[in-house]
Symmetry: C2
Subunit: 341 residues, 2 copies
């Protein structure tokens, strides 16, 4: 049965609410409302498709009591630091009291909030903090390379280069072709969309590869697994997460995600991004001794470019990678899927 969900995105919809837009695009759930009190105050008749034309429509409402009935409230926005905004308390309380589960990817765990925990007990609903890793993680055994499933992992030249989107589009395109495929979520948005997964960036570093290995083993009955990558191997802060996914998933092929024109690591502007072809080789060299693989395709985010510029950028990226390249949003992922299947 499809779940009916309300998505909280106060003050952030759509561009500041990555989880909310990810859910609207990809989740197998009926979104009955988006909560954004700023938008609702400006326009009581506002609709989701006023902002995102390509998704199923729903009303934008000011709070959870104005939403049509729902089975779960999802926190679809993450303030800096991942804390809980106390002005959301009424929405969460109302959701629990109306018998709905609450799903959150915040660093602040709802289940550790005494009031929410008590209410959830009384109303027999679940508070699901997807950012909390399981407590029984262990070191990797090094077996993902022996699985029958063909494993495709997205990697990047940086954070926020479209790894989640590319992985998701590849997975859905594979399903559309009748391929038996699975999606391995490693970050909060993917986990909320899929309803399972491990937030790899929150695992203890000794167990990071093990967490990814555990997920691919659990789903290894599929013919193809699409693993959502995180960060970048050349990122001065997040590279351990990236390497844990590479060595934990032991992929058969890699898709390298890059944003056209980005020259430095986002937020670390003194760190230049080298030629993406060099970055591709670095991923391959790192995989070599553990589980050899190749970058077989490239995804290029060209959202900020016009048609001609985008075409030039793709030609350049394609020659750097010597592999097929598309912008998954502009062009679809047909060619990339051909390369990985």
């Amino acid at each position: 049965m499809t779940r009916r969900i309300a998505v909280l995105a106060h003050g952030g919809f759509p561009d500041g609410a990555k989880t909310a837009t990810g859910i609207l695009r990809y989740a197998d759930a009926e979104v009955v409302a988006v909560l954004d009190r700023d938008i609702a105050a400006d326009d009581p008749d506002a609709r989701v498709t006023d902002y995102l034309p390509d998704v199923t429509d729903a009303p934008i409402v000011a709070n959870s009591s104005e939403s049509p009935d729902f089975d779960a409230l999802v926190i679809g926005i993450a303030p800096i630091g991942g804390s809980f905004d106390e002005t959301w308390r009424g929405d969460v309380t109302h959701a629990i009291e109306s018998g709905a589960d609450v799903v959150s990817g915040l660093h602040y765990f709802l289940a550790d909030d005494p009031e929410f925990a008590r209410l959830a007990g009384e109303h027999d609903v679940e508070l699901r903090d997807v950012r909390r890793p399981p407590e029984d993680l262990t070191v990797a055994e090094g077996v993902a390379r022996d699985l029958d499933a063909e494993i495709i992992t997205t990697v990047g030249t940086d954070c926020s280069t479209g790894k989640m989107t590319t992985t998701r589009e590849l997975y859905e395109a594979a399903l559309d072709r009748g391929v038996d495929a699975g999606f391995i979520p490693t970050g909060q948005t993917g986990i909320v969309i899929e309803g399972w997964g491990i937030p790899v960036d929150r695992t203890v570093s000794d167990f990071t590869a093990g967490a990814v290995e555990r997920m691919v083993r659990e789903r290894s009955d599929h013919d193809y697994l699409f693993v959502e990558g995180q960060g970048s191997i050349i990122h001065p802060a997040y590279s351990p997460v990236t390497l844990g996914i590479l060595h934990g998933s032991m992929p058969d092929s890699l898709v390298l995600c890059h944003e056209a024109g980005r020259e430095a690591i986002h937020g670390y502007e003194d760190f230049e991004i080298p030629n993406p072809g060099y970055v591709a080789e670095l991923y391959e060299s790192l995989a070599e001794s553990v589980a050899p693989t190749e970058v077989v395709a490239g995804a290029l985010n060209t959202a900020h470019l016009d048609e001609t510029e985008a075409s030039d950028a793709k030609t350049r990226y394609q020659s750097q990678l010597t592999a097929p390249v598309t912008d998954p949003i502009r062009d679809g992922v047909g060619e990339l899927l051909e390369a990985v299947l």
Copy 2:
């Protein structure tokens, strides 16, 4: 004032008690006794130097009440899984009741044990669980490469190739020469020896590089910092920890540690260790975009070889690295220190 410590190593001294031997070799403390009830039962007059000729002597006793007075009891042994052995409870209880602190690198945190916590409160002693990372870790800012201190980090072809020993020997040799040097401990033995440090393998993967960066920043008033490495970049489970240390410490030079003749990853026998020269290049390539560095020396563990075999192995390793090589225990680290200073 030098602290007097008793080191618990029941049933493991010396070879199964890596922390105990590390303390005896390197800690700036007076070891007044080693607790090993098995040895003490066999020989009530047993001494530490019967087992380790090159350290300061002390008696081996059956329990903490038979030890000369001490200021701290250190757990110098880690059973598989890092759990607390209940047969040690009497020793810990006696230590606390006699007013001594207790230092532990176990996964089981003594401070979370209700009985120990209560007793420690009553007797005003500290229970120091060195395996618990600080709670305020953050992401790396990417600034270690800008520090004035010259940073030397040990890396390895595998776990247990002598990174702690090599780092420690380099650090002490530097001090002996009058160099203003600091030691950055990243694992439990190093932390117990130094009395500070962060157990990098227990940090959240997003903060692993940040934890290392924080330590080198804190000690950046030294001219030289020697950073203890962990794991290996080609290890199927622990590589994220290794990369966090590489990118967090942004070293000026690297010393590659290898065990002569080891052909596969310890405990992961299906994973071959490639030519150490290739592994050295991989470390350099990974560092290149973040903070360029070079492998300037090699440390080779030849403990299991005779003199001729060891010499052949060093010659081979030296030609693979095209850098000076010694066995730090057999030959000292003089040549390695020349290469890094």
